[in-house]
């Protein structure tokens, strides 16, 4: 694949090498991630799309040290990740979870949620950093002393993004970061992510089911199905990619909108 050749010359921020992650055993064995490989050059945005349940979140969670893998390896800037993650790792790599509500402490105010990572990493100027990051994600200051349940879904998602940004990481793992947001806030967040990437030389691994979003944001897109990477796409400067795999072709068709006739003809690509 041509992308691999260009990637080899550049700095590789994330190298996923023949990664496998299984859950359960016997009849209930799930090969959530099945021998997946890809490389993300530093400062790139890499998109991960695919079927629901195909292992996208599992890969992100494994990178973040929340899942153990049973095969292959993950390298960060050339260094293989061990099972234990250090504090320094989390200063460098942050994740925004798919389920923002579940990942925000229900009894902590937004202020406390944002102050906590700063305290853990011994960073000062909490006051200034918190108001800055809230402004970056367009959260009005009046929300600062509210609890998560007092916010709308999109407001909570912005808290989750702010919490990841506050440590000024180098790599962001973003699991459906804008799927709970309306398109105007989505536009602001995507612009923010692109601006930060340029300013701070960040690398993104972005999971989204929205092909419009990944085509706009990313240079490469990996398509997953059933734990396997079925297609690796290059996105050209016009946001176009040339899908060949029948599953990807069907995804493209589905993103054109609702048409009862067409849906009846969808097939499961097993």
């Amino acid at each position: 694949m041509t992308s691999m050749q260009t990637a080899e010359n550049a700095d590789i921020a994330i190298d996923i090498d023949n990664l496998s992650i299984h859950f359960g055993s016997g009849e209930d064995l799930v090969k959530a991630v099945d021998q997946v490989s890809f490389k993300i050059p530093a400062k790139q945005s890499f998109g991960l799309v695919g079927e629901s349940g195909s292992g996208k979140s599992t890969i992100l969670r494994a990178l973040a040290g929340l899942n153990t893998h049973c095969g292959g390896q993950m390298l960060l800037a050339g260094e293989a990740l061990q099972n234990e993650r250090s504090k320094a790792f989390y200063k460098k790599v942050q994740m925004v979870f798919q389920d923002p509500y579940a990942s925000l402490h229900p009894r902590h105010t937004i202020d406390k949620i944002l102050a906590e990572p700063l305290a853990i990493h011994g960073l000062d100027n909490a006051e200034r950093r918190i108001s800055e990051v809230m402004e970056q994600v367009a959260l009005p200051t009046k929300f600062r002393f509210r609890y998560p349940h007092q916010l709308s879904g999109g407001q909570r998602q912005r808290v989750a993004i702010a919490r990841a940004l506050i440590l000024e990481p180098k790599i962001l793992l973003l699991d459906e970061p804008t799927s709970a947001l309306d398109v105007s806030i989505q536009a602001e967040i995507l612009n923010l992510l692109n601006r930060l990437r340029d300013e701070l030389s960040l690398t993104y691994l972005l999971v989204s089911h929205d092909l419009g979003v990944v085509s706009y944001m990313c240079e490469q897109i990996a398509v997953m199905q059933h734990g396997k990477l079925v297609e690796l796409l290059e996105v050209d400067e016009h946001g176009e990619s040339h899908a060949q795999h029948p599953y990807t072709v069907q995804l493209n068709l589905a993103s054109k909108g609702y048409d009862r006739e067409v849906i009846g003809q969808f097939i499961d690509h097993d």
């Binding site: 709308s152 879904g153 407001q155 105007s184 536009a187 601006r195 946001g239 009862r260 849906i263």
Partner: protein
Amino acid sequence: MSDLPNSDQLLHIDNLNVEFPSVHGPVQAVRNVSFSMGREKIAIVGESGSGKSQTGRAILGLSPGNVTADKLVFDGTDLQTLSMRDYREIRGKRISMVMQDPKYSLNPVMKVGKQMIEACQVQMKISKKDAHTRCMDMLEAVRIRDPKRVFNAYPHEVSGGMGQRIMIAMMLLSSPDLLIADEPTSALDVTVQLQVLAIMDDLVKERGMGLILISHDLPLVASFCDRILVMYAGRIVEEIGASELDQAKHPYTRGLLSCLPSNASKGQPLATLQRQESWLNSSLDAEGNLV
């Protein structure tokens, strides 16, 4: 929006308000919302925090805020005069809501199947065995590949999109007359998303269910729903036939359409909304001017 409630009206809402007390005075989450619907598919779109979920919750009698309305009538029943007990009867059986945070609505320490069977038995008063069959059928209907495994899994063992489909399956168990679906498919890949919407579409066409779909996905609701209500800062600022969305008049609606990544060139920033003070209280007149 007609003023006269007629018999094929499934839901009639007049002047709904939801307010939360706060230290800075009351926050009006929903302001003067009025609409009627039959057994059709309507969409509520609009900005984060504009009151979409609170509108849905108020219909179900589950809003934590102060709810007032001149009329809140479901299929001839005045919801505002119902006892807690009667409301509970209607909720779940005749009106269901798929909540926005699917996994949060599931009990984390109980297996998915057990929760589904319990819900099914409460709603339908059927034997455990029949409930089991019904639940497995519903999981298959929402295109869960491996219903047996998912049935025996805990919520943290399923993916985001599977969690959403489990919630949808649970809400459809009792064949409700009105389904309020709050961002029900936002975590699904587009193929499965359409397949799940097709299930709801069939229920509307074949069994006369009414559907309120709360969504951020404008192109999707334009192709799927019959009518679209656009909310901004607690109010409905525009109501438009789904197929006419591209002719929307309100600057907010037009602004939303222009923010879509599919309308942008790669490398250029996306258009963002410049919100106007005047949108808070003005309305569109018949000519499409803000007054």
